[in-house]
Amino acid sequence: MIKQKNTSKRSDKKLKVSEKDLNDYYWAYFMIAPTIIGLIILNIWPLIQTIYLSFNRTGDFGINQWIGLDNYKQMLADPIVWQATLNTLKYTAISVPIGVILSLGIAVLLNSKIKGKTIYRTIYFLPMVSAPAAIAMVWRWLYSSDFGLINYLLSFVGVKGPNWLTNPKLALLSIVVVGIWSYLGYNMIILLAGLQEIPKSFYEAATIDGAGPIRQFFSITFPLISPTMFFVVITSMITGLQVFDLIFMMISKSNAVMESTQSLVYLFYNYSFVMNDKGYGSTIIVLLLAIILLITVIQLKLQKKWVHYE
């Protein structure tokens, strides 16, 4: 093997970039090339295109016509879009806090000295590796007002089960339950990993000082897990705002509750690929992008208030 000399054959030490460095640069560009080129072609350029599309009306043959801000004006006046935005925000506002708190609770329990952690972990994570389509189908069956297990069990306590998926007030909540159920294990594992990084000695010292478990939780556990919590909350919110699969699979198109349930992404899908108005669809998804960015920025600002960093 040839030993690399750290000098170049040209005017040597005065040159800022040595041959070795140049070699490094070539390798670096080579190694980032597939990913960067791929991302530019598949993501950055499409991002620009989508924004461009939102200023167009897509005609019958896919021909785009520039219409400036008309799509946006139409969207801001569109009650369906407002309702979908509300649905999406509602879904997120309910599923994220409940989901994260439940996940944290289970993680705390699993962090204690008990046996069978692996089995519990596996069971709680099962929903995450199951195709949403299949999950949606079985939950649809569980929620069935006449033949569903849920209403059957409720009948044992004398409650007549409601129409979970056809009652406009309940449909979205029913889907929220499935959403929480799906992601519980995933969030729990991330939180559990964060909990396991907290040194046991902290708790031991606190016990010696006479602090009970609840006090310990709020003084030790919560501050130290807050960065991980923050991560989980943000990722859950972003995922929640994009809800589509469950709604698509659980609420049929003809179901009257669609209007009180459909999310922005569902609208996006409908306009872009079913009704073929890609212009308007693009406008809707740009709206979602704005909402996500806004909420993320707000969260980042808020984190100073409650997230404890070393």
Partner: protein, 275 residues
């Protein structure tokens, strides 16, 4: 004192078991329903256990929809996406983690930007692109969007940063060029990161619904997720068969998960730490 510990452990177990039951109930109900015949499933009051085990539901559903094709399409999609994203992301991650090259910050910005943006933004133009390339209704179309991964690059970069520089420097002194350092030294050391990314990519590919729905119109090109959607259209009332179909769709992934659950869990846990 011992008695106190025992009872608190018991409470913990009780709560966890209740939760575990809630997690498992849909799966159990799926299995039970899939073995009933149609009238059994729609009689009131509901019966819990099927009288006879109607395995024929599975055969019927298998024959009605091209499940074999669904499996193959899903596996191809997962395989190529994993190979592409893991390999390309590892390369890029190494460069970002260890080499100081001009424009590094700018290029890394591209990665960060992509991670913050919801995937649906890219879908319409991606669809148009695939359509213009004449690749609609192919497995290739399923693979393309997953071939490169900003998230994967970001994740693996964290792993590479954690490797001691001395190992690299030793290799460089031995005369290795950057590629050899990457290939022979760094990659083997980040095996758990590579596995984690591979798992993420496969699960995400397996669950992806919207993209296959829009690029693949014919049944025999669909992967499992999209195929299931069409199952629902055809069988909206025969629930036992719908459940059988769902079982066929999910059990491979469940088995894989149960076998590799250590890697799955470690992979997921690593994404949350210090991002």
């Amino acid at each position: 004192m011992k008695g106190k510990i025992k009872s608190s452990n018991l409470i913990v177990h009780i709560i966890l078991i209740i939760g575990a039951f809630a997690m498992l109930l849909p799966f159990i109900w799926m299995i039970i329903t899939s073995l009933k015949n149609l009238t059994e499933s729609t009689t009131i009051p509901i019966t819990i256990m099927p009288k006879d085990f109607k395995w024929s539901n599975y055969i019927d559903v298998w024959n009605q929809l091209p499940f074999a094709k669904f499996y193959i399409n899903t596996m191809l999609m997962m395989f190529f996406r994993v190979i592409g994203s893991v390999f390309f992301s590892a390369m890029a991650a190494y460069a970002f983690a260890r080499i100081d090259f001009p424009g590094k910050k700018f290029f890394f910005m591209i990665i960060l930007i992509q991670m913050m943006i919801p995937g649906q933004i890219f879908i319409i133009p991606q669809y148009i692109m695939v359509s213009k390339l004449g690749l609609l209704n192919t497995v290739t179309a399923l693979v393309i969007p997953g071939m490169v991964s900003a998230f994967g690059t970001f994740l693996l970069r964290q792993f590479f940063i954690g490797i001691p520089k001395e190992l690299e420097e030793a290799a460089i002194l031995d005369g290795c060029n950057r590629w050899q350092v990457f290939w022979k030294v760094m990659l083997p050391l980040t095996r758990s990161g590579l596995v984690a990314l591979g798992i993420f990519t496969s699960v995400f590919a397996y669950k992806d619904l919207m993209w296959p729905l829009i690029v693949n119109m014919s049944l025999d090109k669909m992967p499992l997720a999209a195929g299931m959607a069409s199952l629902q259209g055809q069988y909206s009332t025969n629930f036992p068969q719908l459940m059988a179909g769902s079982m066929i769709a999910i059990w491979p992934m469940l088995i894989i998960f149960i076998i590799f659950q250590k890697q799955f869990v470690e992979g997921v846990a690593s994404t949350g730490s210090k991002s």
